[in-house]
């Protein structure tokens, strides 16, 4: 029991279950299979982006541009399709654009050594402007039926987007835990100077993380475009970066870097999705959704701070 409490994700997991039980008591339709599926399908776009954001935050960085990357990729995929490309070709090209966005961010952050908050603030404007520019400010709605597979199709009875979330979550959770790349991410986020002295290439790791973040945002963009069916470049993914960051922080990540896991983030995303859905199902006004999520972020950081204080007290005790 004591060991269970030591696990960093413990508060968020317990809290997620408590919220689930609360909403189930409030409304019997909350825990029906249909609704569970609905929640899971609603969190897929945020979930995939959150995986990339977790790695960025692990490095002590911040990526404000994910929402604009999503808008840019979604609109360009729409454009490719209207040019007569096949859905899978358009999707691949879309991911290519995500890679380019990631390389752009990564180049300025890792190679030019400009603080990430500045670079991603700038690219947030740039990518959004490009997205609106290429779409001409109109809605993208001409997605063919074949394209809907990415957002609404099923494989072996499980929805394709959900499979993608699980695939990427497992992939990057394993990568962070068992590969040299993953260990470097934690090491650099935890203590940059020590990592540098140990001979790690900080620039290379940072660069790769931003490229991955771009790829994940573009995958999410394709699912988003296919699921929603109509994309407006100026509003698509407008608050995405804040929402996703909130999920990472609720899931136990620390903005200072070095702390956080993909599992925690996934629970953060799930919790936010449950609250969004539950407030509506339980017939509490939907206007309360944002207020509740903001309150949760503050609560998460209070818990985070308390944990840190407790741990540092324990460590001081060891020293004495």
């Amino acid at each position: 029991m004591r060991r269970a409490l030591e696990i960093r994700e413990a508060p968020i997991v317990v809290f997620t279950f408590m919220v689930g039980i609360f909403f189930s008591l409030m409304s019997s339709s909350f825990y029906q299979m249909d609704n569970v599926e609905l929640i899971l399908s609603q969190i897929t776009t945020n979930g995939i982006v959150a995986i990339g954001m977790t790695m960025v935050i692990l490095l002590g960085g911040i990526d404000l541009s994910v929402g604009s990357v999503l808008a840019l990729v979604a609109t360009s995929v729409g454009l490719f399709i209207s040019q007569g490309l096949l859905p899978w070709q358009a999707a691949l090209l879309g991911i290519g654009i995500g890679v380019l966005c990631g390389i752009f961010n990564g180049y300025f952050i890792a190679v030019m050594n400009i603080p990430d908050i500045i670079v991603t603030l700038a690219t947030m404007f740039i990518f959004r402007g490009l997205a609106v520019g290429i779409s001409g400010g109109t809605w993208m709605t001409n997605f063919p039926a074949a394209f809907q597979f990415f957002g609404q199709g099923t494989v072996l009875g499980i929805s394709f987007p959900l499979l993608m979330v699980i695939f990427f979550a497992v992939l990057f959770a394993l990568a962070l835990r068992y590969t040299p790349f993953g260990r470097r991410v934690y090491a650099i986020g935890g203590n940059k100077s020590a990592a540098k002295l140990a001979g790690m290439s900080i620039a290379k790791t940072k660069f790769m993380v931003y490229v991955y973040s771009g790829i994940l945002a573009s995958v999410s963009a394709i699912i988003f475009a296919s699921k929603v069916g109509s994309v407006q470049a100026s509003t698509a993914g407008n608050n995405l970066s804040f929402e996703v960051m909130a999920a990472v922080l609720i899931g136990g990540g620390s903005i200072f870097g070095g702390v956080g896991t993909i599992v925690g983030t996934m629970f953060g995303v799930l919790l936010m999705g449950m609250i969004k859905n539950g407030l509506v199902i339980a017939k509490i006004s939907p206007f309360w959704v944002d207020a509740t999520i903001g309150f949760l972020i503050i609560l998460a950081i209070v818990i985070n701070t308390l944990q840190r204080i407790r741990q540092s007290k324990k460590r001081e005790g060891d020293l004495v």
Binding site: I114, I117, M124, F287, T292, G294, I297, V302
Partner: protein, 314 residues
């Protein structure tokens, strides 16, 4: 030899950031006035001044907060909440000026919640203010359910729509505020402490400076100025809306950074911020007059951030 001579010749320009900003601003003015006959007119200038007041008012405390090594992303939401509470207070039958005071109190209260968590409990400023941003934006919708509130008495519009000797009232207010704040930063202990906080918080604390109280004051000021911006916005647009101030924090931070304030604190100035502010508002205005579509304006703004702020290394 000749290269070093050249180097020495441009040395003053390299060192003096303010001069670079001024030159950039002047070049912009010249460029736009050749492009559009309407740009260099008194009316256009006053129009731009009238529109920049909200961003400008918030940029004052934002500069101080960033100099002190923190960040406040909740200003736009505080602006929106104060604007809506002004509208609600007036609707419930309160005197309009009392409603303004209610709005200012709401803003200061939000700021003090930020300050309490960040200064007293040493929580991470970015996260606390992101949390406040999302929460307050939600509160706004809870309070007024997304409908705009309009129909204020005529005297209230004096703040945002009238002019004294051709100069908009709100622009005069903004400039007075900038002068007061510049004086406070240059001539008072408070200003010195703010720079100190950004440079070496530990050293400042050991010198016996009340670090917590200063940081707290900064966030309360940030809330208060955001509320003021909210009041001026309602007066200018004659309506309080749930979306007021959305994303204004990004404009404010952009102006502050272009003005030479260092993102990690310790360096920066209010005069720089003012120049940064002028540059972004006149850039927007000039591009509009040239007929550059809004679509590409944000691309240009983004590139400007990269160029102007790219020199700041980690």
């Amino acid at each position: 030899m000749s290269t070093s001579l050249l180097f020495r010749a441009i040395q003053p320009f390299r060192v003096n950031k303010m001069l670079t900003l001024l030159l950039l601003f002047a070049a912009m003015l010249v460029f736009f006035s050749t492009r559009s006959p309407y740009f260099l007119t008194f009316n256009n200038f006053m129009n731009v001044l009238n529109q920049m007041v909200e961003v400008g008012l918030i940029a004052i405390p934002m500069t101080l907060v960033i100099i002190s090594g923190a960040m406040d992303l909740s200003v736009g939401a505080i602006l929106g909440l104060s604007a809506v509470s002004l509208g609600l207070a007036y609707e419930s039958g309160m005197n309009i000026w009392l409603s303004v005071i209610v709005a200012l109190l709401v803003g200061s209260l939000c700021g003090s919640v930020n300050g309490y968590l960040i200064a007293r409990h040493r929580m991470q400023a970015i996260i606390v203010t992101i949390g406040m941003l999302v929460m307050l934006r939600g509160m706004i919708y809870v309070l007024n359910e997304g409908r705009p509130i309009s129909g204020y008495p005529e005297p209230f519009y004096f703040l945002g729509q009238h002019a004294i000797a051709g100069i908009p009232v709100n622009a005069i207010f903004l400039i007075v505020m900038f002068l007061i704040a510049t004086f406070a930063m240059r001539r008072t202990r408070f200003g010195t402490y703010v720079y100190g906080l950004g440079n070496n918080e530990e050293a400042v604390r050991y010198s016996g400076v009340p670090v917590v109280r200063i940081r707290f004051t900064l966030f309360v000021l940030s809330g208060l100025f955001s509320a003021m911006a909210g009041v001026f916005l309602v007066s200018r647009l004659a309506s309080a809306e749930a979306t007021s101030g959305t994303n204004i924090e990004l404009d404010v931070i952009t102006a502050t950074l272009i003005g030479g304030t260092h993102i990690f604190g310790g360096r920066g100035s209010l005069t720089g911020t003012f120049m940064g502010l002028l540059i972004i508002v006149f850039l927007r205005n000039g591009l509009n007059l040239m007929g550059v579509s809004v679509l590409y304006q944000s691309v240009i703004l983004g590139i400007l951030i990269l160029i102007a702020v790219g020199k700041q290394k980690v």
